[in-house]
Symmetry: C2
Subunit: 252 residues, 2 copies
Amino acid sequence: MIKSLDRAMEVLQYVSAHQGLTLSDLAAGLGQAPATVYRTLVTLEGRGLVEFDRDLQTWSMGAQAFVIGAQFLRRTSIVERAKPILRRLMEATGETANLGMVRERSVLFVSQAETHAPIRAFFPPGTLSPLHASGIGKALLAHMPQERFDAFLSVPLPGFTASTLTTRAALLTDCDLTRERGYAVDEEEKTEGMFCVAAPVFDASGDAAAGISVSGPVARFGRDRIANIAVHVVGAAQSLSAAIGAPSSYRA
Amino acid sequence: MIKSLDRAMEVLQYVSAHQGLTLSDLAAGLGQAPATVYRTLVTLEGRGLVEFDRDLQTWSMGAQAFVIGAQFLRRTSIVERAKPILRRLMEATGETANLGMVRERSVLFVSQAETHAPIRAFFPPGTLSPLHASGIGKALLAHMPQERFDAFLSVPLPGFTASTLTTRAALLTDCDLTRERGYAVDEEEKTEGMFCVAAPVFDASGDAAAGISVSGPVARFGRDRIANIAVHVVGAAQSLSAAIGAPSSYRA
DNA sequence: AATTCGAGTTTCACATTGTGAAAAATATAA
DNA sequence: TTATATTTTTCACAATGTGAAACTCGAATT
Protein backbone atom coordinates (compact mmCIF):
# COMPACT_ATOMS: atom_id res chain seq x y z
CA MET A 1 0.00 0.00 0.00
CA ILE A 2 1.39 3.40 -0.96
CA LYS A 3 1.01 5.63 2.07
CA SER A 4 1.16 9.01 0.35
CA LEU A 5 -1.32 7.91 -2.34
CA ASP A 6 -3.73 6.65 0.30
CA ARG A 7 -3.50 9.97 2.16
CA ALA A 8 -4.14 11.82 -1.08
CA MET A 9 -7.20 9.70 -1.85
CA GLU A 10 -8.47 10.52 1.62
CA VAL A 11 -8.21 14.17 0.62
CA LEU A 12 -10.04 13.53 -2.67
CA GLN A 13 -12.85 11.61 -0.96
CA TYR A 14 -13.11 14.32 1.71
CA VAL A 15 -13.45 17.04 -0.92
CA SER A 16 -16.20 15.05 -2.67
CA ALA A 17 -18.10 14.76 0.61
CA HIS A 18 -17.52 18.39 1.62
CA GLN A 19 -17.54 20.51 -1.47
CA GLY A 20 -16.87 24.20 -1.40
CA LEU A 21 -14.42 24.28 1.50
CA THR A 22 -11.24 26.39 1.73
CA LEU A 23 -7.76 24.93 2.08
CA SER A 24 -7.71 25.72 5.79
CA ASP A 25 -11.06 24.05 6.39
CA LEU A 26 -10.00 20.97 4.44
CA ALA A 27 -6.69 20.66 6.29
CA ALA A 28 -8.43 21.05 9.64
CA GLY A 29 -11.11 18.52 8.79
CA LEU A 30 -8.56 16.02 7.51
CA GLY A 31 -6.03 16.54 10.31
CA GLN A 32 -3.27 17.10 7.77
CA ALA A 33 -0.78 19.96 7.36
CA PRO A 34 -2.08 22.73 5.07
CA ALA A 35 1.11 22.56 3.01
CA THR A 36 0.59 18.86 2.35
CA VAL A 37 -3.10 19.23 1.54
CA TYR A 38 -2.22 22.13 -0.73
CA ARG A 39 0.27 20.15 -2.79
CA THR A 40 -2.18 17.26 -3.01
CA LEU A 41 -4.98 19.53 -4.26
CA VAL A 42 -2.77 21.23 -6.82
CA THR A 43 -1.65 17.87 -8.15
CA LEU A 44 -5.25 16.64 -8.42
CA GLU A 45 -6.26 19.94 -10.02
CA GLY A 46 -3.59 19.40 -12.66
CA ARG A 47 -5.41 16.19 -13.58
CA GLY A 48 -8.82 17.89 -13.53
CA LEU A 49 -10.01 15.81 -10.60
CA VAL A 50 -10.66 18.86 -8.41
CA GLU A 51 -11.29 22.48 -9.28
CA PHE A 52 -10.37 25.67 -7.43
CA ASP A 53 -12.64 28.68 -7.31
CA ARG A 54 -10.23 31.58 -7.23
CA ASP A 55 -12.81 34.11 -6.04
CA LEU A 56 -14.22 32.03 -3.21
CA GLN A 57 -10.91 30.24 -2.49
CA THR A 58 -12.82 26.97 -2.37
CA TRP A 59 -12.12 23.50 -3.68
CA SER A 60 -14.68 21.20 -5.35
CA MET A 61 -14.80 18.09 -7.47
CA GLY A 62 -13.60 18.52 -11.03
CA ALA A 63 -14.92 17.39 -14.38
CA GLN A 64 -12.35 14.62 -14.75
CA ALA A 65 -13.69 13.00 -11.58
CA PHE A 66 -17.04 12.82 -13.32
CA VAL A 67 -15.46 11.51 -16.50
CA ILE A 68 -13.62 8.66 -14.79
CA GLY A 69 -16.44 7.97 -12.35
CA ALA A 70 -18.94 7.62 -15.19
CA GLN A 71 -16.78 4.84 -16.60
CA PHE A 72 -17.84 2.68 -13.68
CA LEU A 73 -21.27 2.45 -15.30
CA ARG A 74 -19.78 1.37 -18.61
CA ARG A 75 -18.21 -1.80 -17.22
CA THR A 76 -21.38 -3.72 -17.84
CA SER A 77 -24.55 -3.22 -19.83
CA ILE A 78 -26.84 -3.30 -16.81
CA VAL A 79 -27.47 0.44 -16.65
CA GLU A 80 -28.16 0.72 -20.36
CA ARG A 81 -30.46 -2.27 -20.35
CA ALA A 82 -32.23 -1.01 -17.24
CA LYS A 83 -33.13 2.41 -18.66
CA PRO A 84 -36.19 1.46 -20.73
CA ILE A 85 -37.31 -0.94 -18.01
CA LEU A 86 -37.09 1.79 -15.36
CA ARG A 87 -38.94 4.23 -17.58
CA ARG A 88 -41.77 1.77 -18.20
CA LEU A 89 -41.90 0.96 -14.49
CA MET A 90 -42.12 4.66 -13.61
CA GLU A 91 -44.92 5.14 -16.18
CA ALA A 92 -46.82 2.06 -15.00
CA THR A 93 -46.65 3.00 -11.32
CA GLY A 94 -46.48 6.80 -11.41
CA GLU A 95 -43.59 6.75 -8.92
CA THR A 96 -39.83 7.07 -9.21
CA ALA A 97 -38.07 3.86 -10.28
CA ASN A 98 -34.50 3.12 -9.17
CA LEU A 99 -31.68 0.75 -9.97
CA GLY A 100 -29.19 -0.07 -7.22
CA MET A 101 -26.13 -2.32 -7.01
CA VAL A 102 -24.65 -3.99 -3.96
CA ARG A 103 -21.26 -2.71 -2.87
CA GLU A 104 -19.76 -3.90 0.41
CA ARG A 105 -22.42 -3.22 3.03
CA SER A 106 -24.36 -0.71 0.94
CA VAL A 107 -26.58 -0.26 -2.06
CA LEU A 108 -25.22 2.15 -4.66
CA PHE A 109 -27.96 3.92 -6.60
CA VAL A 110 -26.83 4.10 -10.20
CA SER A 111 -29.84 5.01 -12.31
CA GLN A 112 -33.28 6.42 -11.88
CA ALA A 113 -36.44 7.24 -13.78
CA GLU A 114 -38.08 10.08 -11.94
CA THR A 115 -41.79 10.50 -11.66
CA HIS A 116 -43.18 13.83 -12.78
CA ALA A 117 -45.21 14.18 -9.58
CA PRO A 118 -44.21 17.32 -7.62
CA ILE A 119 -43.60 15.29 -4.47
CA ARG A 120 -41.17 12.52 -5.26
CA ALA A 121 -38.45 10.27 -3.92
CA PHE A 122 -34.98 11.21 -5.07
CA PHE A 123 -31.86 9.04 -4.79
CA PRO A 124 -29.34 10.79 -6.97
CA PRO A 125 -26.98 8.38 -8.77
CA GLY A 126 -23.90 8.00 -6.61
CA THR A 127 -25.91 7.72 -3.40
CA LEU A 128 -25.01 4.91 -1.01
CA SER A 129 -27.54 3.45 1.42
CA PRO A 130 -26.99 0.65 3.97
CA LEU A 131 -28.27 -2.76 2.91
CA HIS A 132 -30.41 -3.26 6.00
CA ALA A 133 -32.08 0.15 5.64
CA SER A 134 -33.16 0.13 2.00
CA GLY A 135 -35.68 -1.79 -0.05
CA ILE A 136 -33.15 -2.95 -2.60
CA GLY A 137 -30.73 -3.78 0.19
CA LYS A 138 -33.19 -5.98 2.00
CA ALA A 139 -34.17 -7.68 -1.28
CA LEU A 140 -30.49 -8.51 -1.74
CA LEU A 141 -29.98 -9.63 1.86
CA ALA A 142 -32.87 -12.06 1.38
CA HIS A 143 -30.95 -13.75 -1.43
CA MET A 144 -27.48 -13.49 0.02
CA PRO A 145 -25.42 -16.64 0.67
CA GLN A 146 -25.61 -17.61 4.35
CA GLU A 147 -21.90 -16.96 5.00
CA ARG A 148 -22.00 -13.41 3.67
CA PHE A 149 -25.29 -12.79 5.46
CA ASP A 150 -23.77 -13.91 8.76
CA ALA A 151 -20.73 -11.70 8.15
CA PHE A 152 -23.05 -8.77 7.46
CA LEU A 153 -24.87 -9.36 10.77
CA SER A 154 -21.62 -9.65 12.74
CA VAL A 155 -21.29 -5.86 12.65
CA PRO A 156 -23.76 -3.78 14.69
CA LEU A 157 -26.44 -2.24 12.47
CA PRO A 158 -27.12 1.47 12.87
CA GLY A 159 -30.68 2.70 13.15
CA PHE A 160 -31.90 5.70 11.17
CA THR A 161 -35.55 5.93 12.16
CA ALA A 162 -37.74 4.23 14.74
CA SER A 163 -38.60 1.71 12.01
CA THR A 164 -35.07 0.61 11.06
CA LEU A 165 -34.55 -3.14 11.49
CA THR A 166 -31.36 -3.49 13.54
CA THR A 167 -31.59 -6.96 15.07
CA ARG A 168 -30.79 -10.36 13.58
CA ALA A 169 -34.23 -11.67 14.44
CA ALA A 170 -36.04 -8.77 12.78
CA LEU A 171 -33.97 -9.06 9.62
CA LEU A 172 -34.42 -12.84 9.44
CA THR A 173 -38.19 -12.46 9.70
CA ASP A 174 -38.13 -9.74 7.08
CA CYS A 175 -35.99 -11.87 4.73
CA ASP A 176 -38.38 -14.79 5.06
CA LEU A 177 -41.30 -12.51 4.17
CA THR A 178 -39.32 -11.02 1.27
CA ARG A 179 -38.52 -14.43 -0.20
CA GLU A 180 -42.11 -15.56 0.30
CA ARG A 181 -43.71 -12.71 -1.62
CA GLY A 182 -40.83 -12.00 -4.02
CA TYR A 183 -40.27 -8.37 -3.00
CA ALA A 184 -39.01 -6.28 -0.08
CA VAL A 185 -40.49 -3.08 1.33
CA ASP A 186 -38.79 -0.17 3.06
CA GLU A 187 -41.39 1.49 5.24
CA GLU A 188 -39.69 4.60 6.62
CA GLU A 189 -36.70 2.50 7.68
CA LYS A 190 -34.06 4.85 6.28
CA THR A 191 -36.00 8.06 5.73
CA GLU A 192 -39.10 9.30 7.52
CA GLY A 193 -42.05 9.47 5.16
CA MET A 194 -40.48 7.30 2.48
CA PHE A 195 -41.93 4.04 1.19
CA CYS A 196 -40.32 1.69 -1.23
CA VAL A 197 -41.01 -1.64 -2.98
CA ALA A 198 -37.97 -3.54 -4.28
CA ALA A 199 -37.07 -6.80 -6.01
CA PRO A 200 -33.70 -8.45 -6.64
CA VAL A 201 -32.00 -8.59 -10.03
CA PHE A 202 -29.93 -11.69 -10.72
CA ASP A 203 -26.78 -11.67 -12.83
CA ALA A 204 -25.44 -14.28 -15.22
CA SER A 205 -24.00 -16.27 -12.32
CA GLY A 206 -27.36 -16.37 -10.57
CA ASP A 207 -26.20 -13.96 -7.85
CA ALA A 208 -28.46 -11.18 -6.58
CA ALA A 209 -26.13 -8.32 -7.39
CA ALA A 210 -28.56 -5.48 -8.10
CA GLY A 211 -32.14 -4.49 -7.45
CA ILE A 212 -34.96 -2.43 -8.81
CA SER A 213 -37.30 -0.41 -6.67
CA VAL A 214 -40.15 2.05 -6.81
CA SER A 215 -40.29 4.66 -4.11
CA GLY A 216 -42.35 7.63 -2.99
CA PRO A 217 -44.09 9.24 -0.03
CA VAL A 218 -45.55 6.68 2.35
CA ALA A 219 -48.96 8.41 2.21
CA ARG A 220 -49.35 7.35 -1.43
CA PHE A 221 -48.77 3.67 -0.67
CA GLY A 222 -52.06 2.09 0.43
CA ARG A 223 -52.29 -1.69 0.73
CA ASP A 224 -54.00 -2.27 -2.63
CA ARG A 225 -51.66 0.07 -4.40
CA ILE A 226 -48.64 -1.72 -2.90
CA ALA A 227 -49.88 -5.06 -4.28
CA ASN A 228 -50.25 -3.55 -7.74
CA ILE A 229 -46.89 -1.80 -7.66
CA ALA A 230 -45.19 -4.96 -6.42
CA VAL A 231 -46.39 -6.88 -9.48
CA HIS A 232 -44.76 -4.27 -11.72
CA VAL A 233 -41.55 -4.13 -9.70
CA VAL A 234 -41.08 -7.89 -9.66
CA GLY A 235 -41.82 -7.99 -13.38
CA ALA A 236 -39.29 -5.27 -14.09
CA ALA A 237 -36.63 -6.99 -12.01
CA GLN A 238 -37.29 -10.23 -13.86
CA SER A 239 -37.04 -8.44 -17.22
CA LEU A 240 -33.71 -6.93 -16.28
CA SER A 241 -32.44 -10.27 -14.94
CA ALA A 242 -33.30 -11.84 -18.27
CA ALA A 243 -31.74 -8.97 -20.20
CA ILE A 244 -28.41 -9.40 -18.43
CA GLY A 245 -28.32 -13.13 -18.81
CA ALA A 246 -29.56 -14.58 -15.55
CA PRO A 247 -30.42 -18.30 -15.69
CA SER A 248 -34.18 -18.74 -16.17
CA SER A 249 -34.56 -20.61 -12.90
CA TYR A 250 -33.58 -17.42 -11.06
CA ARG A 251 -36.20 -15.32 -12.69
CA ALA A 252 -39.27 -16.97 -11.20
CA MET B 1 3.23 18.88 -7.48
CA ILE B 2 3.52 15.46 -5.89
CA LYS B 3 5.23 13.19 -8.41
CA SER B 4 4.07 9.85 -7.09
CA LEU B 5 0.47 11.05 -6.77
CA ASP B 6 0.51 12.36 -10.32
CA ARG B 7 1.83 9.00 -11.57
CA ALA B 8 -0.88 7.21 -9.63
CA MET B 9 -3.59 9.44 -11.12
CA GLU B 10 -2.21 8.61 -14.55
CA VAL B 11 -2.80 4.97 -13.67
CA LEU B 12 -6.35 5.72 -12.49
CA GLN B 13 -7.20 7.69 -15.62
CA TYR B 14 -5.66 4.96 -17.78
CA VAL B 15 -7.78 2.27 -16.10
CA SER B 16 -10.91 4.36 -16.66
CA ALA B 17 -10.08 4.67 -20.36
CA HIS B 18 -9.09 1.01 -20.75
CA GLN B 19 -11.27 -1.07 -18.51
CA GLY B 20 -10.84 -4.79 -18.15
CA LEU B 21 -7.07 -4.99 -18.61
CA THR B 22 -4.68 -7.19 -16.65
CA LEU B 23 -1.83 -5.86 -14.54
CA SER B 24 0.69 -6.72 -17.23
CA ASP B 25 -1.31 -4.93 -19.93
CA LEU B 26 -1.75 -1.86 -17.75
CA ALA B 27 1.94 -1.69 -16.87
CA ALA B 28 2.92 -2.08 -20.52
CA GLY B 29 0.45 0.55 -21.67
CA LEU B 30 1.55 2.99 -18.99
CA GLY B 31 5.28 2.36 -19.33
CA GLN B 32 5.59 1.76 -15.60
CA ALA B 33 7.04 -1.19 -13.68
CA PRO B 34 4.45 -3.87 -12.89
CA ALA B 35 5.41 -3.76 -9.21
CA THR B 36 4.69 -0.04 -9.05
CA VAL B 37 1.41 -0.27 -10.95
CA TYR B 38 0.44 -3.18 -8.72
CA ARG B 39 0.95 -1.24 -5.49
CA THR B 40 -0.92 1.74 -6.96
CA LEU B 41 -3.90 -0.42 -7.95
CA VAL B 42 -4.05 -2.18 -4.60
CA THR B 43 -4.01 1.18 -2.81
CA LEU B 44 -6.80 2.53 -5.03
CA GLU B 45 -8.74 -0.72 -4.57
CA GLY B 46 -8.54 -0.22 -0.82
CA ARG B 47 -10.40 3.05 -1.33
CA GLY B 48 -12.94 1.45 -3.69
CA LEU B 49 -11.77 3.52 -6.65
CA VAL B 50 -10.87 0.46 -8.72
CA GLU B 51 -12.02 -3.12 -8.55
CA PHE B 52 -10.20 -6.37 -9.31
CA ASP B 53 -11.89 -9.31 -10.98
CA ARG B 54 -10.18 -12.30 -9.44
CA ASP B 55 -11.36 -14.76 -12.09
CA LEU B 56 -10.40 -12.69 -15.11
CA GLN B 57 -7.42 -11.03 -13.37
CA THR B 58 -8.62 -7.66 -14.71
CA TRP B 59 -8.90 -4.18 -13.24
CA SER B 60 -11.82 -1.79 -13.73
CA MET B 61 -13.26 1.37 -12.21
CA GLY B 62 -14.78 0.93 -8.78
CA ALA B 63 -17.97 2.12 -7.19
CA GLN B 64 -16.26 4.83 -5.15
CA ALA B 65 -15.05 6.43 -8.36
CA PHE B 66 -18.69 6.73 -9.35
CA VAL B 67 -19.65 8.03 -5.93
CA ILE B 68 -17.07 10.81 -5.90
CA GLY B 69 -17.47 11.55 -9.61
CA ALA B 70 -21.21 12.00 -9.19
CA GLN B 71 -20.50 14.76 -6.65
CA PHE B 72 -19.23 16.90 -9.48
CA LEU B 73 -22.83 17.26 -10.62
CA ARG B 74 -23.96 18.33 -7.15
CA ARG B 75 -21.76 21.44 -7.09
CA THR B 76 -24.47 23.45 -8.75
CA SER B 77 -28.15 23.04 -9.45
CA ILE B 78 -27.79 23.16 -13.22
CA VAL B 79 -28.24 19.42 -13.79
CA GLU B 80 -31.29 19.22 -11.54
CA ARG B 81 -32.89 22.28 -13.09
CA ALA B 82 -32.11 21.01 -16.59
CA LYS B 83 -33.83 17.63 -16.16
CA PRO B 84 -37.45 18.71 -16.70
CA ILE B 85 -36.36 21.09 -19.45
CA LEU B 86 -34.48 18.33 -21.28
CA ARG B 87 -37.41 15.96 -20.92
CA ARG B 88 -39.86 18.51 -22.37
CA LEU B 89 -37.41 19.27 -25.19
CA MET B 90 -37.08 15.57 -25.99
CA GLU B 91 -40.86 15.19 -26.01
CA ALA B 92 -41.38 18.30 -28.14
CA THR B 93 -38.80 17.31 -30.74
CA GLY B 94 -38.85 13.53 -30.59
CA GLU B 95 -35.04 13.44 -30.46
CA THR B 96 -32.48 13.02 -27.70
CA ALA B 97 -31.82 16.21 -25.70
CA ASN B 98 -28.43 16.85 -24.10
CA LEU B 99 -26.82 19.15 -21.56
CA GLY B 100 -23.11 19.88 -21.90
CA MET B 101 -20.65 22.04 -19.97
CA VAL B 102 -17.45 23.63 -21.20
CA ARG B 103 -14.27 22.23 -19.71
CA GLU B 104 -10.90 23.35 -21.10
CA ARG B 105 -11.10 22.69 -24.84
CA SER B 106 -14.01 20.27 -24.63
CA VAL B 107 -17.69 19.91 -23.92
CA LEU B 108 -18.52 17.49 -21.13
CA PHE B 109 -21.91 15.83 -21.56
CA VAL B 110 -23.50 15.68 -18.15
CA SER B 111 -27.17 14.88 -18.63
CA GLN B 112 -29.44 13.56 -21.29
CA ALA B 113 -33.10 12.84 -22.04
CA GLU B 114 -33.11 10.03 -24.53
CA THR B 115 -35.69 9.69 -27.27
CA HIS B 116 -37.56 6.44 -27.41
CA ALA B 117 -36.89 6.07 -31.13
CA PRO B 118 -34.95 2.88 -31.93
CA ILE B 119 -32.31 4.83 -33.82
CA ARG B 120 -30.95 7.53 -31.57
CA ALA B 121 -28.00 9.69 -30.68
CA PHE B 122 -26.25 8.71 -27.50
CA PHE B 123 -23.71 10.81 -25.59
CA PRO B 124 -23.38 9.01 -22.28
CA PRO B 125 -22.78 11.37 -19.34
CA GLY B 126 -19.05 11.66 -18.84
CA THR B 127 -18.33 11.94 -22.56
CA LEU B 128 -15.96 14.70 -23.68
CA SER B 129 -16.15 16.20 -27.16
CA PRO B 130 -13.93 18.95 -28.65
CA LEU B 131 -15.50 22.41 -28.72
CA HIS B 132 -14.97 22.91 -32.45
CA ALA B 133 -16.54 19.55 -33.31
CA SER B 134 -19.79 19.64 -31.37
CA GLY B 135 -22.97 21.65 -31.56
CA ILE B 136 -22.81 22.78 -27.96
CA GLY B 137 -19.11 23.51 -28.35
CA LYS B 138 -19.65 25.75 -31.34
CA ALA B 139 -22.54 27.50 -29.58
CA LEU B 140 -20.13 28.26 -26.74
CA LEU B 141 -17.28 29.33 -29.03
CA ALA B 142 -19.67 31.82 -30.61
CA HIS B 143 -20.11 33.52 -27.24
CA MET B 144 -16.57 33.15 -25.96
CA PRO B 145 -14.54 36.22 -25.01
CA GLN B 146 -12.16 37.14 -27.84
CA GLU B 147 -9.02 36.39 -25.82
CA ARG B 148 -10.08 32.87 -24.93
CA PHE B 149 -11.32 32.31 -28.48
CA ASP B 150 -7.92 33.34 -29.88
CA ALA B 151 -6.19 31.06 -27.39
CA PHE B 152 -8.42 28.21 -28.49
CA LEU B 153 -7.50 28.79 -32.13
CA SER B 154 -3.80 28.99 -31.39
CA VAL B 155 -3.70 25.19 -31.13
CA PRO B 156 -4.19 23.13 -34.33
CA LEU B 157 -7.70 21.71 -34.52
CA PRO B 158 -8.03 18.02 -35.32
CA GLY B 159 -10.50 16.84 -37.92
CA PHE B 160 -12.82 13.92 -37.30
CA THR B 161 -14.85 13.74 -40.51
CA ALA B 162 -14.67 15.48 -43.87
CA SER B 163 -17.08 18.07 -42.42
CA THR B 164 -15.09 19.10 -39.33
CA LEU B 165 -14.30 22.83 -39.28
CA THR B 166 -10.57 23.04 -38.62
CA THR B 167 -9.59 26.50 -39.89
CA ARG B 168 -9.92 29.89 -38.20
CA ALA B 169 -11.83 31.29 -41.17
CA ALA B 170 -14.36 28.46 -41.20
CA LEU B 171 -14.97 28.76 -37.48
CA LEU B 172 -15.31 32.54 -37.60
CA THR B 173 -17.91 32.25 -40.32
CA ASP B 174 -19.73 29.57 -38.39
CA CYS B 175 -19.68 31.66 -35.21
CA ASP B 176 -21.14 34.66 -37.04
CA LEU B 177 -23.94 32.47 -38.36
CA THR B 178 -24.51 30.97 -34.92
CA ARG B 179 -24.81 34.36 -33.25
CA GLU B 180 -27.08 35.59 -36.03
CA ARG B 181 -29.61 32.80 -35.74
CA GLY B 182 -29.14 32.06 -32.04
CA TYR B 183 -28.16 28.41 -32.44
CA ALA B 184 -25.33 26.22 -33.76
CA VAL B 185 -25.53 23.05 -35.81
CA ASP B 186 -23.21 20.08 -35.96
CA GLU B 187 -23.70 18.46 -39.34
CA GLU B 188 -21.59 15.30 -39.23
CA GLU B 189 -18.63 17.28 -37.95
CA LYS B 190 -17.70 14.89 -35.17
CA THR B 191 -19.58 11.73 -36.10
CA GLU B 192 -20.70 10.55 -39.52
CA GLY B 193 -24.46 10.48 -39.79
CA MET B 194 -25.06 12.65 -36.75
CA PHE B 195 -26.89 15.98 -36.76
CA CYS B 196 -27.28 18.31 -33.84
CA VAL B 197 -28.88 21.68 -33.01
CA ALA B 198 -27.48 23.52 -29.99
CA ALA B 199 -27.89 26.77 -28.07
CA PRO B 200 -25.78 28.35 -25.30
CA VAL B 201 -26.83 28.48 -21.65
CA PHE B 202 -25.69 31.55 -19.72
CA ASP B 203 -24.81 31.47 -16.05
CA ALA B 204 -25.37 34.08 -13.36
CA SER B 205 -22.28 35.98 -14.50
CA GLY B 206 -23.56 36.15 -18.07
CA ASP B 207 -20.95 33.66 -19.30
CA ALA B 208 -21.83 30.93 -21.78
CA ALA B 209 -20.74 28.02 -19.63
CA ALA B 210 -23.09 25.27 -20.78
CA GLY B 211 -25.30 24.37 -23.70
CA ILE B 212 -28.35 22.39 -24.61
CA SER B 213 -28.69 20.40 -27.80
CA VAL B 214 -30.94 18.02 -29.65
CA SER B 215 -29.30 15.37 -31.74
CA GLY B 216 -30.14 12.48 -34.00
CA PRO B 217 -29.46 10.85 -37.35
CA VAL B 218 -28.86 13.42 -40.07
CA ALA B 219 -31.50 11.77 -42.27
CA ARG B 220 -34.23 12.90 -39.88
CA PHE B 221 -33.19 16.58 -40.01
CA GLY B 222 -34.79 18.20 -43.04
CA ARG B 223 -34.66 22.01 -43.39
CA ASP B 224 -38.19 22.65 -42.07
CA ARG B 225 -37.71 20.28 -39.18
CA ILE B 226 -34.42 21.98 -38.24
CA ALA B 227 -36.19 25.36 -38.03
CA ASN B 228 -38.85 23.90 -35.76
CA ILE B 229 -36.36 22.07 -33.55
CA ALA B 230 -34.20 25.18 -33.27
CA VAL B 231 -37.09 27.15 -31.83
CA HIS B 232 -37.48 24.53 -29.10
CA VAL B 233 -33.75 24.26 -28.40
CA VAL B 234 -33.28 28.02 -28.09
CA GLY B 235 -36.33 28.20 -25.84
CA ALA B 236 -35.02 25.41 -23.64
CA ALA B 237 -31.62 27.04 -23.34
CA GLN B 238 -33.26 30.33 -22.38
CA SER B 239 -35.41 28.57 -19.78
CA LEU B 240 -32.36 26.97 -18.23
CA SER B 241 -30.42 30.24 -18.32
CA ALA B 242 -33.26 31.89 -16.45
CA ALA B 243 -33.51 28.99 -14.00
CA ILE B 244 -29.86 29.32 -13.03
CA GLY B 245 -29.95 33.06 -12.68
CA ALA B 246 -28.60 34.48 -15.92
CA PRO B 247 -29.24 38.22 -16.37
CA SER B 248 -32.32 38.77 -18.54
CA SER B 249 -30.33 40.60 -21.21
CA TYR B 250 -28.45 37.36 -21.92
CA ARG B 251 -31.57 35.35 -22.49
CA ALA B 252 -32.75 37.09 -25.66
C1' DA C 1 1.53 -36.50 -12.66
C1' DA C 2 5.34 -33.61 -13.38
C1' DT C 3 7.30 -29.77 -15.47
C1' DT C 4 7.33 -25.38 -17.60
C1' DC C 5 5.91 -20.84 -18.25
C1' DG C 6 3.84 -16.45 -17.52
C1' DA C 7 1.66 -13.33 -14.59
C1' DG C 8 0.95 -11.62 -10.11
C1' DT C 9 2.90 -10.48 -5.64
C1' DT C 10 6.60 -9.58 -2.30
C1' DT C 11 11.28 -8.34 -0.90
C1' DC C 12 15.18 -5.37 -0.73
C1' DA C 13 18.59 -1.76 -1.42
C1' DC C 14 18.81 2.80 -2.42
C1' DA C 15 17.72 7.02 -4.68
C1' DT C 16 14.05 10.04 -4.54
C1' DT C 17 10.72 12.62 -2.54
C1' DG C 18 6.82 13.66 0.74
C1' DT C 19 6.33 16.02 4.92
C1' DG C 20 5.46 19.80 8.06
C1' DA C 21 7.42 23.82 10.28
C1' DA C 22 8.64 28.13 9.10
C1' DA C 23 8.99 31.83 6.02
C1' DA C 24 7.19 34.47 2.36
C1' DA C 25 3.45 36.18 -0.39
C1' DT C 26 -1.16 37.70 -0.97
C1' DA C 27 -5.61 39.49 -0.05
C1' DT C 28 -8.88 41.37 2.94
C1' DA C 29 -10.36 43.96 6.87
C1' DA C 30 -9.78 47.48 10.17
C1' DT D 1 -1.26 52.22 6.45
C1' DT D 2 -1.21 48.40 9.39
C1' DA D 3 -2.70 44.04 11.04
C1' DT D 4 -4.39 39.56 10.36
C1' DA D 5 -5.43 35.34 8.28
C1' DT D 6 -4.86 32.37 4.64
C1' DT D 7 -2.40 30.62 0.85
C1' DT D 8 1.85 29.38 -1.21
C1' DT D 9 6.74 28.31 -1.22
C1' DT D 10 11.14 26.96 0.86
C1' DC D 11 14.07 23.90 3.33
C1' DA D 12 16.02 20.17 6.05
C1' DC D 13 15.41 15.60 6.85
C1' DA D 14 12.98 11.46 7.76
C1' DA D 15 10.18 8.54 5.25
C1' DT D 16 9.07 6.05 1.45
C1' DG D 17 8.37 5.02 -3.61
C1' DT D 18 10.73 2.62 -7.05
C1' DG D 19 12.10 -1.20 -10.01
C1' DA D 20 14.95 -5.31 -10.37
C1' DA D 21 14.95 -9.64 -8.70
C1' DA D 22 13.01 -13.29 -6.23
C1' DC D 23 9.10 -15.77 -4.88
C1' DT D 24 4.37 -17.59 -5.39
C1' DC D 25 0.63 -19.27 -7.86
C1' DG D 26 -2.17 -21.08 -11.43
C1' DA D 27 -2.72 -22.69 -15.99
C1' DA D 28 -0.94 -25.02 -19.88
C1' DT D 29 1.93 -28.43 -21.84
C1' DT D 30 4.27 -32.70 -22.02
